[in-house]
């Protein structure tokens, strides 16, 4: 590991390097083949290479969960995964969740119905994390929903209706 001032001069020189690796990723059912730099983060591959800007970058430090997508059916923070790690894997983003262009996914419908959003920035990540949560625990308690969404921050602090939306989607009584 290189620390401190030494790192900056060393690292700037290395920034010019750009060897690429070919990856093939199935995103929302379509297989995409692209050349990427190994250091490309999955979220930037999705947003900038594929134009799938529904996945947001919030904190960029794997804290806020705005960049949550599914990889092989499980929620992950796409700011803390390299695009090369997704090579050969299945990625699902918020754009691929709805069954058609005119219908919403039940979780999206539930967020809409229960006003599970304020500014909307955290929403794609919240919806993806919530779908992963219900897949692992189809009938969570309120506490389990709150703990299950621990990795997603809502800066509007609109958690009450987010939790309500997830519980409603699980087919349980509302708060």
């Amino acid at each position: 590991m290189v620390l401190g001032g030494y790192a900056s001069s060393f690292v700037l020189a290395r920034d010019e390097k750009g060897d690429t690796v070919e990856i093939s990723v199935t995103v929302n059912g379509d297989t995409k083949t692209d050349e990427v730099e190994p250091r490309t983060l999955l979220v930037y591959y999705l947003r900038e290479e594929l134009g799938l800007t529904g996945t947001n970058v919030g904190c960029d430090t794997s804290s806020c969960g705005a960049c949550t997508v599914h990889v092989n059916g499980e929620s992950v923070k796409s700011c803390t995964m390299l695009a090369v790690q997704a090579d050969g894997q299945e990625v699902l983003t918020i754009e691929g969740l709805a069954p058609s262009a005119t219908e919403l996914h039940p979780m999206q419908e539930s967020f809409r119905e229960n006003h599970g959003l304020q500014c909307g920035y955290c929403t794609p990540g919240m919806v993806m994390a919530a779908c992963s949560l219900l897949k692992e625990n189809p009938s969570p308690t309120e506490i389990e929903v709150r703990e299950g969404l621990e990795g997603n921050l809502c800066r509007c602090t609109g958690y009450h209706n987010i939790v309500k939306s997830v519980l409603a989607c699980s087919g349980q009584d509302l708060l």
Binding site: M1, V2, L3, A7, S8, F10, V11, R14, D15, E16, K17, G18, D19, V21, E37, P38, R39, L41, Y44, D60, T61, S62, S63, G65, T68, V71, E74, S75, V76, K77, T80, M81, L82, V84, Q85, A129, S132, L133, E136, G148, E150, G151, N152
Partner: protein, 274 residues
């Protein structure tokens, strides 16, 4: 934040990873789940020139019953440990501690071997394996060796793994039953522990380890000795910060951490009936 450029190679077996490590030396880093390494690379605190991706070495993800102990593959993810039936029945403290790491997204990617090799004194799993008196298995060009968890953590983010060695397995003694507890104190969801305490009965001894009370995870030896001498939990816990050098940061002073260690140790011992 984008990491500095690096070359990427993928290893398909532990053997291949080790020969790549031998080839690239200390310029290379192993990438498992990446949930400790990638954040450090994004901050450019870590600047490896080669990343050896071992995330697809599938035969290193398991929990196996080996008679008196359990063997856990280095690439077993936290989320797997959390829900694994064998681990929950034979070593429940480890399954519980795995469930306290980060958040669900982190637990879908992070691996136990990665967490131990990263050797962060503020991490949950290293302290749990230390409390259990576990063994770390490392594979290098000259074969396999076993390292006691008490010898494994050597300094701030440093372990006794050699540059050309890969952590392949963790072995923990079976410790079924209810005599265990993990106290993780933090102020925000998904944070590291400001201080954590793991207490567990292993065979006839009561083991206690501390998170974030020094440059490595440590055993609370003074507490263990007091318990062995017959002192009750409340009085033994008063020794939790003895001979420690707790760090200082924005969250806590060393004095506050020492106080937390004593309080959390008392809670852990009382909750586990130890």
């Amino acid at each position: 934040m984008i990491p500095a450029a690096f070359d990427y190679v993928r290893a398909h077996s532990a053997q291949e990873a080790i020969s790549l490590l031998s080839e690239y030396g200390d310029e290379a880093k192993l990438l498992a789940g990446g949930h400790s390494l990638l954040p450090m690379m994004k901050l450019r605190l870590a600047v490896p020139t080669v990343l050896i991706d071992i995330g697809r070495v599938d035969d290193l993800s398991y929990v196996r019953d080996q008679g008196d102990h359990l063997a856990i593959g280095a690439l077993t993810k936290h989320g797997f440990l959390e829900t694994n039936a064998l681990l929950n029945s034979e070593c429940p403290i480890l399954a519980h501690v795995a469930s306290k790491v980060g958040d669900p997204q982190v637990r879908h990617r992070g691996t136990i071997g990665g967490s131990l090799a990263h050797s962060d004194s503020a991490s949950d799993l290293p302290a749990a394996v230390l409390a259990l008196g576990g063994t770390i298995v490392a594979q290098g060009p000259n074969g396999v060796r076993e390292i006691s968890s008490t010898d494994f953590f050597t300094g701030y983010f440093e372990s006794s793994l050699a540059e050309d060695e890969m952590l392949t397995e963790i072995r923990v003694p079976k410790s079924p039953g209810a005599n265990w507890n993990y106290q993780k104190f933090n102020r925000r969801a998904q944070d590291w522990a400001i201080v954590g305490v793991a207490a567990v009965r292993v065979g006839n001894s009561t083991n206690v380890s501390l998170v974030n009370m020094g440059s490595t995870p440590i055993r609370a030896e003074a507490v263990e000795a007091a318990l062995k001498a017959g002192v009750n939990a409340e009085e033994a816990a008063l020794h939790a910060a003895d001979d420690t050098e707790p760090p200082t940061d924005l969250n806590a002073s060393p004095e506050y951490r020492a106080h937390l260690a004593r309080v959390l140790t008392k809670r852990a011992l009382q909750a586990s009936g130890l």
